[in-house]
Amino acid sequence: MTTRTGAAMAPSALGDDIRRFVSLTFTLAATEFKLSFFGSALGYLWSLMRPLMLFGVLYVVFTEVIRFGEGIKYYAVYLLASIVLFTFFSETTSGAVTSLVQRENLLRKMRFPRMVIPMAVSLTSLFNLGMNLVAVLVFALISGVQPRWSWLQLPFLVLILAVLSVGLAMLLSALYPRFRDLSPIWDVVLQILFYATPILYVLSIVPDEYERLFLVNPLAVVFTQMRHAVLDPQAPSVFEAIGPDVRLLVPMGIVVGLFALGFWVFKRETPRIAENL
């Protein structure tokens, strides 16, 4: 028997029961994931198809037409891996933008921790990422990449990416009910990020004077380190690329800062979210 009084009566972002929060997030994400899986005949193939198609097009353009990838070891694997990782980022954030408005009927009728919604969107993308990473690793092994202990860095890199994505997911989903043009704006931002991040190219190609500027972008940090740890130990690690390690505080600060900002904004918007939809 709990008595909810005063401020506790307001719709809350996190709720007071962490287990319920987790189980709810997981159930929502799992049902969503199942939907994309069984919703169409090809299920999983479709979720893999998008990054694969993009990869196929870019691969042909950059190895056969522009002949750009030739000097880069395991260029194909790098391209696929970074596309898959970026897909996770873009899927999470752009999915989150409209997530609250799409689940209006839940928010208007049920009492549950509001943060569950962007979290579930992120978790669904994380499931997808897990499936896609399996495909990437298989592809890497086929291409001749040797498994190494440093592969164990991958979960940590994914974690950084996930924190960044979830932070933005909270921020964007909370702001969208107020600013409805956020959706097209974010699409453009994602496109800019796609080219500003070493996906089609690798960081070592970037002129030295810009290299550090590129590494302000946390995505670039993750992808560069991924290349070093997973694909090619000869490729510079992010620590080598950025110079003094203390500079890493900038991209990591952005990750943590965006997460904190997203959390704060979402929490602030929570009490009125249901009526502003």
Partner: protein, 420 residues
């Protein structure tokens, strides 16, 4: 048959006892000075572009006070009704109780777990199957995954949708979806159930099922807040009821009283046009100035409880000398059937009146009419002059009765069962 008689004989007694028992319990829900105001922006949405182009332009909006200074308590185990016209703030109040909306000021406290059933549903995803939706919603309402799975069969059985568990919700009819939603809401064993308009859809069989479920939950001592437009179910189930109008509590009390007031609110508007709005032709020797009903104390009334004494009155003014006029009032029900005609001539000669005389004529009777809305048509005929004055539907009376028998009047009767 005997049991039935027994039950009715003791019913008021137990109701009283129940009232007393409820009053001694601590409140399950306390609402204290609650205000809720919606800001309705003039533009539906603001974009970042507009913000960037006009950074100093403030947003303009209307304020809608959905709830104003609402204060009441609901006892633990009470069946509490909330009635009011559309837009009066009922659903907003329910959403505040369910903490779906935040309140502007005041205090709301609810003891225990709340299960809301608001605006015909608990929020289903149309793309998911009934099975997934039920599990998801049960978890949202506070069950664990395991509990949700174990309740699943009961929920489906209650909704009588066994054949459709693997059908996507978008393929459900609206009635089926409501049934499923209500089944989830009642089966999660919440301490407080908030029900909004469950009876509005669903077939007769499902309504009966809801009624049975209400009886069961009432007997179990669960707290239920019930929003509806169906006054007979308010009178049947609620321990107390509350009438809200424009966000304020208009009255809180016995369900019969509240339901009467609610009918008044709905149908009472025409009563203001009482008085000689429709004047008869100039040539008439007599004019009807007004018609109304009053109770025994002479208070004008629009609604009346069945069984009370009613006086149907009209005020007339004579413009010529008239001998032996006949006064009459015709009662027609909502179906425009003539139910009752009261006539003065059967009581004897009407007397003589001079020009300029004004009289109030009243017919008094014990009101045994069935519950309905009645329109009163007063008329005066003057046989000597072969003239008559009549104003159609000049007044109305709503009769509230505890039971609906199906007839046009409920005459007192006794029951006797004997062997042939």
């Amino acid at each position: 048959m005997l049991a039935f008689l027994d039950l009715t004989a003791t019913a008021p007694h137990t109701a009283d006892e129940r009232q007393r028992a409820l009053q001694s319990k601590p409140p399950a829900i306390t609402v204290d000075g609650v205000n809720k105001c919606f800001r309705l922006p003039h533009q539906q949405f603001v974009t970042l572009k507009q913000r960037a182009l006009h950074p100093f332009q403030g947003r303009t909006y209307d304020e809608l006070h959905a709830l104003r200074d609402v204060t009441f308590e609901i006892a633990d185990g009470e069946f509490f009704g909330i009635v009011g016209r559309n837009g009066s703030g009922k659903s907003t109040l329910l959403k505040c109780l369910a903490s779906i909306y935040d309140i502007d000021s005041g205090r709301v406290s609810v003891a225990g777990r709340v299960s809301p059933f608001i605006e015909l549903g608990v929020g289903f995803n149309p793309e998911l199957t009934a099975r997934d939706n039920v599990i998801l919603n049960a978890i949202m309402l506070g069950l664990s995954r395991r509990e949700a799975r174990s309740r699943f069969d009961e929920i489906i059985a209650f909704a009588e949708l066994d054949e459709f568990v693997d059908l996507k919700l978008k393929n459900y009819s609206s009635g089926m979806a409501v049934r499923l939603g209500f089944a989830v809401a009642v089966q999660v064993d919440a301490d407080v159930l908030l029900v909004d308009e469950v009876l509005a859809v669903g077939d007769a069989a499902f309504q009966q099922k809801c009624f049975n479920e209400f009886d069961r939950m009432k007997a179990e001592g669960r707290t239920i807040v019930f929003v509806t437009h169906d006054m007979s179910s308010v009178e049947r189930f609620c321990d107390r009821a509350m009438l809200i109008e424009k966000g304020r509590i208009r009255n809180l009390g016995q369900p019969e009283e509240i339901s009467r007031q609610y009918s008044e609110l709905n149908f009472g508007a025409s009563a203001h046009s009482l008085g000689g709005a429709a004047a008869p032709a100039e040539a008439m020797p007599v004019r009807i100035l007004g018609a109304w009903c009053e109770d025994e104390q002479g208070e004008r009334i629009i609604t009346q409880q069945q069984g009370e004494r009613c006086r149907a009155c009209m005020e007339v003014e004579f413009t010529e000398t008239v001998n032996d006029p006949h006064f009459a009032v015709t009662f027609r029900n909502a179906a425009r059937h003539t139910i009752l005609v009261t006539r003065s001539e059967i009581h004897g000669p009407g007397g003589r009146y001079e020009a300029g005389d004004r009289r109030i004529v009243c017919f008094s009777f014990v009101n045994l009419l069935a519950s309905s809305r009645y329109e009163l048509t007063p008329s005066v005929s003057v046989p000597d002059l072969a003239a008559a004055a009549e104003v159609e539907d000049m007044a109305s009376l709503i009769v509230a009765a505890p039971h609906w028998s199906g007839g046009v009047a409920d005459l007192p009767h006794e029951l006797e069962v004997r062997r042939p």
